[in-house]
Amino acid sequence: MNEAILVPIEMAATWRYASGAAMERFCDGLRERRIEALRCGVCRRSYLPPRPICGNCHAPLSEWVSVADEGRLEAWTVLQVPMLDARTGSIREAPYGMGLIRLDGADTTINHYLAESDPARLAIGLRVRAVWRPEPRGAMDDIVHFEVLR
């Protein structure tokens, strides 16, 4: 037997995910271009994304703190191959920049797109600021990307 028999199966599935109370408030804030983190009362770490408890201290998080929409670029890369964009289901063409950004007021970094896609013009330590879409809908992609402040 030389040829493999292929049984094609196509999967289409839908899931409805509950955001949780903390993420719900965070997403509501995005509608007004407001970013809020949750601070742990024990270790004082401000978490983005907000979530029910601090994984290190096991303490429930309830202290909301304001976070700016600009901050420091803590890590960066430029994607040079197209990638599946899970939100849209379509392919995001390369090149595009990505970074880990520590927004002023937060202790964790957020992973987001960068407007800059030339590696020669990216470095850790640059200041970056969010570029918002004209009509935010309450989701992380209300921020289109972060632009480098030069």
């Binding site: 493999a4 199966i9 999967m11 995910y17 955001s19 993420m23 997403c27 978490y47 983005l48 994304p49 979530r51 994984g55 290190n56 803590e74 890590a75 960066w76 890369t77 430029v78 994607l79 040079q80 191959v81 990638m83 599946l84 964009d85 899970a86 939100r87 995001r92 990505m98 970074g99 880990l100 964790t108 970094t109 957020i110 992973n111 987001h112 797109y113 590696p119 850790i124 989701a139 992380m140 992609d141």
Partner: protein, 384 residues
């Protein structure tokens, strides 16, 4: 923990597309080989653990379908899945199951058949409110961490390329390996297709089809059946907070791996990892990660990893050969990759390494890696 040992291993050949075998056939091939290597018959296996990231193949509860292929019908059989650490996690679960006294002999089989699924889609089912906002995949996430690691520790693209070369050249002497490149050069790695700055194609692990199995036995049957059992001296697992941004400078700090290693070294009596270990099979999803793991595992001081690879300390003829098998960089069926690390370390102690055998292996280190920073660490020894 009561003494348990690995007494047999079995692997399929790894390739980007094993269209010659179905998933159950790959499982059967590895299971059969491991059981035979252990000097047993299938009936003598008391329980089976399967490791598989079935979402990549679009499946659920895969052990229901695959169990029989692992000789598990009519036996206790469970599936372990913890991302990239699935394989090492399943092996550690196997150690616990045998050490519990509930079973004398446990078979662990890891499998992945990426060619029968849509791995990218499977990997895209991250937190829908947060991670899915950005299309980065494992590739982008590694590249981000690497930018921090390079900035802080000064490793270079050239040093990372040396890791990639070592892996594929080692793989050339491993009959099972997927990417065998006996003449690969650093320049070829540096000239390969850029994926995500600074990662190039040859810096990254492949996606492979394949399966790997080990047989774990309690002390009495291990001594009876195996001339040189690979005893489990210690193992540890550490998981992390769930978002990449939670982890401070991931490759630099890798607190999970460091803490797991520290605990395991203490229990296994390892004081000087570079000299106390005779071989290491560490889970390196990208070339730069291996350098970071040298530091995290205490093979060298922080910032010295580049020097280690340049001086050939981790080459086959070096002080501590790392990944004689070729590592994850050469073969990567995700659900099996962790089992392969354990199997390759065990067969080094068994003396079954063939062309990739390191001489006189008495103590071996194994690590598993997955998700953003989950870590498993195992030490195997020629003595319990």
């Amino acid at each position: 923990m009561r003494h348990v040992a690995i007494i047999g291993t079995g692997q399929t050949d790894y390739a980007s597309n094993r269209s010659d075998a179905s998933q159950p056939e790959l499982v059967r091939e590895a299971a059969k080989a491991a059981i035979a290597d252990a000097g047993l018959r299938p009936q003598q296996i008391d329980a089976v653990l399967i490791s598989n990231m079935e979402l990549f193949e679009g499946r659920a509860l895969p052990e229901l379908w695959l169990g029989e292929a692992a000789f598990a019908a009519g036996k206790p059989c469970l599936k372990v899945a913890t991302g990239g650490t699935s394989g090492t996690s399943a092996c550690i679960s196997g150690f616990h199951q045998v050490a519990s006294g509930l079973f004398d002999v446990v078979l662990v089989v890891g499998l992945e058949k990426h060619s029968e699924g849509q791995t990218q889609t499977g990997m895209a089912l991250t937190d829908p409110f947060w991670d899915r906002a950005v299309a980065a995949g494992a590739l982008g996430n590694f590249a981000l961490s690497i930018s921090q690691y390079m900035a802080e520790r000064g490793v270079t693209e050239r040093q990372a390329a040396m890791v990639a070369v070592k892996a594929r050249r080692n793989a050339a002497r491993n009959p099972h390996a997927h990417l065998k490149m006996p003449a690969l050069t650093v320049d070829e790695v540096l000239a390969s297709r850029p994926l995500a700055h600074p990662i190039r194609l040859l810096d990254m692990c492949p996606q492979s089809d394949g399966a790997c199995a080990i047989v774990i036995a309690a002390e009495k049957p291990a001594r009876r059946l195996c001339p040189r059992p690979a005893w489990v001296k210690a193992s540890a697992t550490r998981h992390e907070q769930p978002y990449i941004g939670d982890i401070d400078r991931r490759l630099v700090t890798m607190r999970t791996l460091r803490d797991a290693a520290r605990g395991v070294y203490e229990r296994a009596g390892i004081r000087d990892p570079l000299h106390d270990f005779d071989v290491a099979e560490i889970y390196e999803p990208v070339s730069y990660a291996e350098l970071a793991w040298y530091e995290a595992l205490g093979f060298c001081r922080e910032g010295e990893a580049g020097r280690l690879i340049e001086d050939g300390v981790t080459a086959m003829d070096g002080e501590l050969p790392v990944n004689p098998s070729g590592g994850v960089l050469s073969s990567n069926p995700v659900g099996a990759s962790g089992v392969i690390r354990v199997a390759e370390a065990a067969l080094q102690i068994h003396g079954r390494g063939g062309e990739r055998q390191v001489e006189g292996v008495r103590t071996a280190l194994v690590t598993g890696y997955g998700v953003y920073a989950w870590a498993d660490v195992v030490v195997l020894g020629a003595q319990p």
